[in-house]
Amino acid sequence: MSTMTAQTTQVYSIFIRATPEQIWDAITKPEFTAKYFYGSLVEITDDAWVGRFADGSVGVTGRMIEHEPPHRLVHGWRALYDPDTANEDESRVTWEIEGQDGGYSKLTVVHDRLERSPKTAESVAGGWSYVLSGLKTLLETGRPLAG
């Protein structure tokens, strides 16, 4: 959000012409996430949220905290893709999906509990807008944002 200091609670929202169920699938299934989440294959289980790169290495992982399809997903976030961020405390990501009248939905991502993870806070500050923009393009046009 702020271009100077990364905030410890970051809120991003976007409106997408899609149903909550379509958005839920797009954020929880690897065949979708590979097309907009920096190539990551996201898998969720009862216990964990895991984002793997194409080579199988784990980029981000965290505990599963809440799982209420198709409206709410809350999980921990440890960014293993960088040694500096990997050593920081786990932060938290909340996805909220709200259907709206008119055939579209509001998707909000809150990334918080970043007080003890300043490098992670800085790393994701530019990234979430890119991820949500790519997700919207994929769902509305059937194609990835870039390429």
């Binding site: 409106f15 012409r17 807008s129 923009s133």
Partner: protein, 148 residues
């Protein structure tokens, strides 16, 4: 941004599959803005920012501060569509348009100088700017309006 207190400097970003020129036209010409900006017909020139309702009422009337097509535009903002907000101090909106080199462009909206306009700050922070930017992206990528 924050869901509790509206900030006096608000930053919104969206990546759009479009050229800087296409985005510039979409934010400065009324035929485009009418399709994604709550129906507002907005005309921006080097000197002036004007917004009118579909019925021709004045919704915005301010100076243009910076005019650098197709990269940067900054203008004053008073929410004249609401009596209470219209009495608040003028704030500022800056649009930055940055090509990413892969067919996409990053559009950043900074709405600042909101210290003297708390109702306006609250109004534009919720659905406000992200609704507008979401609809702009849909229009440029699909040719269709998002029915916000």
């Amino acid at each position: 941004m924050s869901t509790t207190t509206a900030q006096t400097t608000q930053v919104y970003q969206v990546y759009i599959r479009a050229t800087p020129e296409e985005i510039w036209d979409a934010i400065t010409t009324p035929e485009f803005t009418a399709r994604y900006f709550h129906g507002a017909r907005i005309t921006v020139t080097r000197d002036h920012y004007g917004s009118r309702s579909p019925d021709g009422e004045v919704w915005g009337d301010a100076k243009t501060f910076e005019w650098d097509p197709p990269r940067r535009l900054s203008h004053g903002w008073r929410s004249m569509y609401d009596d209470e907000m219209a009495r608040e101090e003028e704030s500022r909106v800056t649009w930055e348009i940055e090509p990413q080199g892969n067919g996409t462009t990053l559009l950043t909206v900074v709405h600042d100088r909101l210290e003297g306009a708390p109702k306006t700050a609250a109004s534009v922070s919720g659905r406000g700017w992200m609704g507008v930017l979401s609809a702009l992206k849909t229009l440029l990528e699909t040719g269709e309006a998002l029915p916000l």
